[in-house]
Amino acid sequence: MVVANKNSVVKYRRYIKVFVFLLALLPLLQLFLGVLQNSLGPDPAKALSHMSGEWALRFLIITMAITPLRIITRSSEWIHYRRMMGLFVFFYAVLHLLIYCVFLLGLQWQDLWADILERPYITVGFGAWLLLLPLAVTSTKRWQRKLGRQWSRLHKLIYIVSALVLLHIIWQARSDLAEPLVYVLIFSVLMLFRLPIVKRAFNTRSKKTAAVHKH
């Protein structure tokens, strides 16, 4: 199936990318509409901060799902969308931090500093945000060439970002751990595909299927 459509997929990749890009901007539109329609409830800053944070998290999950998708579908097509998804993680994370600083803290920088030092969930959240910076900066092809093998080592930081983001969520739960557990589960499954044993399993299976088809 992949082979049959390969050329058309490549041909239309540019359009698909534009489409995906616009799709990824829809949450931003949702935030704007919420503000314009005044439908964010009595604490709009909190609502905006939650929504932007959740979208950063969702794009992180999508970014981390590229490798598993590649393994499962045995198609490298997915990789062409990874940079964009990663940059959307950064985009919504920047929005999340800005909303927090401007609307929740009212630009009281000493309060930001106190929060980072004293509130563990903010410490790890801010740490995750800082680690996203070098990843966003070096996301271009030029940086990729410049850094060579170091580039992929640097971009392994996304695993630390994921761990910090999970802590950021778990430490905010007051009583019901269902939601954090769902995210831990999702990330665990995505991490399984990084294990050599799982990768091998998919590889041998694909070879077997190929062999069966030859007969």
């Binding site: 503000v35 409830g41 009595p42 604490d43 709009p44 800053a45 909190k46 905006l48 609307f103 929740l104 009212g106 309060d111 106190a114 929060d115 004293e118 509130r119 563990p120 969930y121 430490w171 905010q172 007051r174 009583s175 019901d176 751990l177 269902a178 557990l181």
Partner: protein
């Protein structure tokens, strides 16, 4: 148990016809609300369609005793009833309004137990009968560092306790919320860390304090389900979670009662939970609060006051107590 010999009854104790009728109106209205919630599947959310019935009460005014009234801007009704922490219906602030319509509040009874002269299970009507309702305009400070100003309708808890006779051994009052998982979806959550039913407690002197009330209404109307219908506690100088909702049990005891949040996270929530800007919650600074509603460029951040601004009335209850340790 409440029946008295005719000779014992003072004229002042006799219920006036008007307040008798008002109580009938309250009960009838509560019934109408229950009917309304039965019809609600066809009509959409009950809170959208059916206005809670009005109550008769003595309005708070500037001349009310200290603490009973605040001139601060009141949080609008739609926010008071649409932004709630009532984990029995879910942990999202909008969950209670969405899901509380399933709760059946009529009939309702409250069990009064322990060190009291007249223990028993009383219908809501019995509980309310002799009490005149009054309005109290209180600040409500949530432990999550937001706050509201709410006009509650209720009567002093102390009056109720006196009526049932506080036993000589009683030192604390324990409260319990309804446990009914098929009506309260939050109680069905598999990963919740709260051990239902929700329980709370006060020291007897805190319970007898005139600021402490049992509320049956808000904004002049019968208490909406998402706010803890039909009867809930209000202790304005403590964080909101102390003000237990939808009460089914009141027990007087000589031992300090367990409280739900303290059981869940003892390092985060103490028994007292008095509003205290000097003691931070591990996840929130308590030095300031965001008064609701706010807007994006007017965050309404104000300084939090000791005892939520009721220090003049209640600080003496804690003389000599290390409030940093007894948080």
């Amino acid at each position: 148990m409440l029946i008295k010999q005719a000779a014992d009854i003072l004229p002042s104790e006799i219920t006036s016809e008007s307040s008798y009728l008002n109580r009938r109106q309250f009960m009838g209205a509560a019934g109408a609300m229950a009917m309304g919630s039965l019809l609600s599947p066809a009509l959409g959310s009950a809170s959208d369609v059916i206005e809670p019935p009005p109550l008769d009460y003595l309005a708070a005014n500037k001349d009310s005793p200290a603490g009973f009234y605040t001139p601060e801007v009141q949080t609008p009704y739609r926010d008071v009833t649409g932004y709630n922490n009532f984990y029995e219906f879910g942990t999202d602030k909008t969950d209670p309004e969405k899901y509380a319509s399933k709760l059946v509040t009529d009939p309702w009874s409250v069990s009064i137990e322990g060190e009291v002269d007249k223990p028993g299970t009383y219908t809501l009507e019995d509980i309310l009968k002799p009490h005149d309702l009054e309005e109290r305009i209180y600040r409500l400070r949530c432990v999550e560092a937001w706050s509201m100003v709410v006009p509650w309708i209720g009567f002093p808890l102390g009056d109720l306790l006196k009526r049932f006779g506080v036993g000589s051994k009683a030192k604390y009052v324990a409260f319990e919320t309804l446990y009914r998982p098929n009506e309260m979806r939050g109680q069905r959550s598999r990963f919740g860390t709260i051990d239902w039913p929700y329980v709370e407690g006060l020291r007897l002197d805190e319970a007898m304090h005139p600021l402490t009330i049992l509320a049956v209404g808000v904004y002049g109307k019968t208490m909406p389900k998402q706010n803890g219908a039909p009867i809930r506690l209000i202790v304005p100088w403590k964080y909101g979670f102390k003000s237990i909702k939808s009460i089914v049990k009141i027990r007087l005891t000589d031992r300090k009662p367990a409280t739900s949040w303290n059981k869940t996270a003892p390092s985060e929530y103490g028994f007292y939970s008095n509003v205290n800007p000097a003691v931070s919650h591990p996840r929130w600074s308590q030095a300031s609060e965001r008064r609701l509603p706010n807007s994006l460029f007017k965050p309404n951040r104000i300084e939090t006051l000791p005892f939520n601004g009721y220090a003049e009335q209640v600080a003496s209850l804690y003389a000599g107590l290390d409030l940093k340790r007894n948080f």
